[in-house]
């Protein structure tokens, strides 16, 4: 019954006039919400923090960029190695270990890292790195395993070396899935960076947590809204990479 209703609703969404009507309602709603916030003085409150926001957002992105780059730099080669004939049997063991990084709460990892690296950005980067690693490794392995074996046989039969098979056949055919993993990983990463504030790592968490402590909702929102926007932006940017960088023949989006 409920399923039927959802189906009907989904079908309704396909009707162009309904869709444009919904879009109009959404824009009107957003506008009304903005006007309401303006009337309550919230917007001007947030804008008061604008210089803090730009500074902290830059710090925020730097944390994401460094920890993300490290995770890609480690996760991608690790995933590739774990799909090679010789190391294939270790794949399960290694992914279990990497999985621990996601299972243990990030806050706990950050706290543990602090006891080793001290206070500041390094323990925060380490915590974010362990959190980000798993989706990248898993998707690299999944993407490479999904390449049909007959493609590899054809490549071998035509005289490609293992390195050429990896670069010209396996990676191009797996890159869509790999990028999907990076997309998920970085979206989680951006959303988790605010915790870095707790060990002095900086980032937009500073506004969020201070806003909570001071019971100042505008300050809280000045941290939370940009964090959300950054997550959406990173997700969108990688989505665009997925669209434009993946060869057309293996790109389900094109």
């Amino acid at each position: 019954m409920a399923a039927a209703r959802i189906m009907a609703a989904a079908k309704l969404m396909d009707v162009p006039s309904v869709r444009s009507g919904m879009r109009f309602a959404f824009i009107a709603g957003a506008f009304a919400f903005g006007a309401y916030l303006q009337a309550r003085g919230v917007l001007s409150g947030i804008l008061q923090h604008s210089s803090d926001v730009t500074y902290l957002a830059r710090q925020h992105l730097a944390l994401t960029a460094i920890s993300g780059a490290l995770a890609i730099g480690v996760g991608l080669p690790l995933g590739i190695v774990l799909t090679r004939q010789r190391f294939r049997r270790y794949a399960n063991a290694v992914t279990q270990i990497v999985n621990l990084g996601t299972t243990i709460p990030t806050l706990a990892i950050i706290a543990l890292a602090m006891s080793v690296f001290g206070i500041g950005a390094p323990p925060a980067i380490f915590g974010l790195f362990t959190l980000t690693l798993l989706p990248i490794v898993l998707n690299t392995i999944a993407g490479l395993r999904m390449v049909p074996p007959h493609l590899i046989e054809a490549a071998r039969g035509m005289g490609m070396t293992p390195g050429q098979i990896l670069r010209r056949v396996e990676l191009p055919n797996a890159v869509f899935v790999i990028l999907a993993g990076i997309r998920t990983a970085l979206a989680i990463n951006v959303g988790t960076v605010p915790l870095a504030f707790l060990i002095g790592g900086g980032g937009l968490g500073e506004l969020i947590f201070t806003g909570i402590d001071l019971m100042e909702p505008t300050m809280l929102l000045a941290g939370a809204i940009p964090t959300a926007l950054l997550a959406i932006f990173v997700d969108f940017a990688i989505g665009q990479c997925q669209y434009w960088l993946v060869p057309r023949g293996v790109n389900p989006l094109r």
Binding site: H150, E153, A154, V250
Partner: protein, 368 residues
């Protein structure tokens, strides 16, 4: 061109290929045939060392393959697989140029070669060069798969059931195209198949495998006419004599220099000619010798006049380049026991009858 010298492959305790000796002459199409698990694919893959032999030697063009670097060896041998294996991330053009690119050919040279190859299999380069494999039909993909193996012009081609995944109608078309291509290129081909009809059609030699052993290695006609044992006889099928029909051209089975009459001849002349040859009909030809019609013996006996007045249309004619299978099929279609044979211009060249077909098929039996 390709020589296997007591080649053996063991997978653990199992002998997959057992001391196979075989020689494929240059320009021949050798079909490895047998039930699944008989070692035919393993044998083929040992030639380009995708599977290393356990013992024995393989020579390609006189050189021991064990002494050639395996990557170099494979680049010099064309390879086609059943699943086609076009790289979905590359365009048709880049797929065809895989081996030339690996060999470091000049880009302009390899790209123009790709266009030329596409034309050879009746695909318009203007349309297909920049397409991706997923935008092609199965038959088109397999054509590209075949020309990809030809791109660097290797003397030897290995084909692993290349037409196995294509629907029967398209398969016939692609097989015919491929045979035409092969007649021009004269590559040495090792071709794995489990389809006896395909083998009879394509092969200049057939190698029949069973349990890793090479049971019989001979021309298709000899395999069908003289299967070496009960296994081969059963594998090629109880209708093996019918399959041989496909191997013989009408021209080789027809009675040449047939009696003939012209339109202006009298029925008496026609009757005399028929009695002389013991025939019950004679073909009427036009002024330059084209087959036009026929006169039956009972009509020639009963009526008076010229041939032109009493001729009937021919029930069916067969081209001399067709195979006997087509001829027999035509005979059954029209319910006749003989057919007039004409060449491409319609000139009357001879006739095939059920007896002449039996004789042609029996020729090799009588050689014994």
């Amino acid at each position: 061109m390709i020589r296997l010298d007591r080649v053996t492959k063991m997978f653990g305790p199992i002998t997959a290929v057992d001391a196979v000796d075989m020689e494929v002459p240059a320009g021949a199409v050798c079909v490895l045939l047998g039930p699944s698990g008989c070692g035919k694919t393993t044998t083929m893959k040992m030639i380009n060392r995708l599977i290393p032999p356990s013992s024995g030697k393989i020579f390609v063009d006189g050189r021991d393959t064990a002494e050639i670097d395996e990557v170099t060896l494979r680049r010099s041998i064309g390879y086609v697989i059943q699943q086609i294996g076009l790289f979905p991330n590359k365009t048709v053009e880049d797929n065809i140029c895989v081996v030339p690119d690996l060999l470091g050919w000049d880009r302009r040279k390899s790209r123009s070669r790709a266009a030329e190859l596409l034309r050879m299999v009746n695909l318009d380069p203007g349309i297909f060069l920049k397409r991706y494999p997923k935008e092609l039909s199965g038959g088109q993909q397999q054509r590209v798969g075949v020309v990809r193996a030809l791109a660097a012009d290797p003397p030897v081609l290995l084909m692993d059931e290349p037409f196995g995944a294509i629907d029967p109608i398209n398969r016939e078309v692609i097989q015919d195209e491929f045979m035409k291509l092969q007649a021009e290129l004269k590559k040495t081909i090792v071709f794995v198949s489990h389809d006896i009809d395909e083998a009879v059609k394509m092969a200049s030699r057939i190698a029949i495998f069973r349990d890793g052993r090479l049971i019989q290695y001979d021309t298709p006609d000899n395999i069908l006419a003289h299967p070496t044992d009960a296994f081969v006889a059963e594998f090629v099928g109880s209708d093996r004599t019918l399959k041989r029909l496909r191997l013989v051209k009408v021209e080789d089975a027809m009675m040449k220099e047939p009696p003939r009459v012209r339109a202006e001849d009298t029925l008496d002349t026609a009757l005399r000619l028929m009695e002389e040859h013991g025939h019950y009909a004679v073909v009427m030809v036009g002024p330059r010798g084209r087959a036009r019609g026929l006169v039956r013996v009972e009509i020639a006996r009963d009526k008076k006049g010229t041939v032109a007045e009493h001729q009937e249309p021919l029930p069916g004619v067969i081209n001399i380049d067709d195979d006997l299978r087509t001829a027999v099929s035509l005979m059954f279609t029209h319910g006749v026991t003989w057919l007039a044979c004409v060449d491409h211009d319609g000139f009357y060249k001879g006739y095939v009858s059920q007896r002449s077909i039996t004789n042609a098929l029996g020729a090799t039996y009588r050689d014994d």
